[in-house]
Amino acid sequence: MNRRRSRRGDSSVKPARSSQVSAAGLFLLGLIMGLAGALYYAWVVSPVVYTDASPSRFSETYKAEYIYLVSESYAADGDWERANDRLMALGDEALAQRVDAQLENYLRSQRPATDIEHLAQLAQKLGVEGAAVALFAPDSAAATETPTPLASATPSPTATNTAVPTHTPQPSVTPTATIEPTATPQPNYRLLAQERVCEPGTAVSRIEVETLDALLAQLPGVEVIVRWDSGEDRFFTGFKPEKGAGYGDFTMSPGVSYSVMLADGSPEISGLRIEPCDSGSDGGWRLSFQNLRVILETPTPEKEN
């Protein structure tokens, strides 16, 4: 009896439940279709268009270009506060790293030296420390001094200066001058690094020389002059390619002091001798020279797109 009632009860409930399920299912079907269609429309067909964006919304390309413009403007007007405000508009927490990476990219893509110098000055102001900054923005004074004021502010429009950049003043020639003004000779290479060469358990008596171009790539075929009290020797880099295209070395004799310089012009590094390392073994020296001219002689006036 109970069973029959129960069955009867079940059969009476079933249609109502299936009706509820189908109603909810139909509504849900419509809901999902509507949701999908609306999201497609809102995200793809007619997305929100930002017209009041800040530079933080820029693509990577435009961010790089923006930083370039900031560096050039800063080089022109020397207004760090303004340059900093502009950089802050990028909203980049890793701004210094971004500028550093862009500087490295400039070096590798052989951008004009002025572009690199200006960006290096900006990087230096942001606290970036690295070989590129040290090379192209060697001291903070260069960045903090007013870099070539373009024009001075004037009280009235009629007395304004045009925006002609004032370059470094030309040397004036005096009537009595009989000697041609000679440019200050600049070495073609700078000493980038001087390090000890120590190999634990092995005596090293070499002077290793590494020559690099301005972009820090190995530079072969550079003549190296080694002098000591009673003699002189010369060799070229690049004859041991397994150690680097710009590598060359010289074997020192014990108790002799040597000096090394590059035939193309570099500082002379003296007082090089075999000296014991911390491990007790004899050690040599490794000198890295960087060419300062290559990049300056390849002006590629390529601008960023």
């Binding site: 995200w43 530079p55 502009r86 304004t160």
Partner: protein
Amino acid sequence: MRQWLRIIGLISLGLIVGGLLGLYLGWIAWPTEFTDANPSVLAEPYQQDYLLMIATVYAADGDLQAAQQYLAKLGDRGPSILNAYVLDEILLGKQGPDVQHLARLAHDLGFDSPALQPYLTPPTETVP
């Protein structure tokens, strides 16, 4: 017939609710994130600052072609934005190198206005 009306009604109701919900989510709650914007979508103050940088760089290097390329990134309205900006600055009585740079760039790009002339005058040399 009544059954069909019921089905269509439920689906339509779902569509309407889902559509409204989708538009809210797509336009307001989770709008498309623009991370690849270009200078043309910058807010006006940023566009003006962008123009000022172009003008400053142009004053320094004199490369009009490069300046035009940068200006083109502001879209078709780039030149008109520049012209309006420089005139606004002049009418506001702004002085100094910024206005001069803007005026010089606008002038060299072909914008001819008497208002620019005072800012284009070369510096008068003082004769002792």
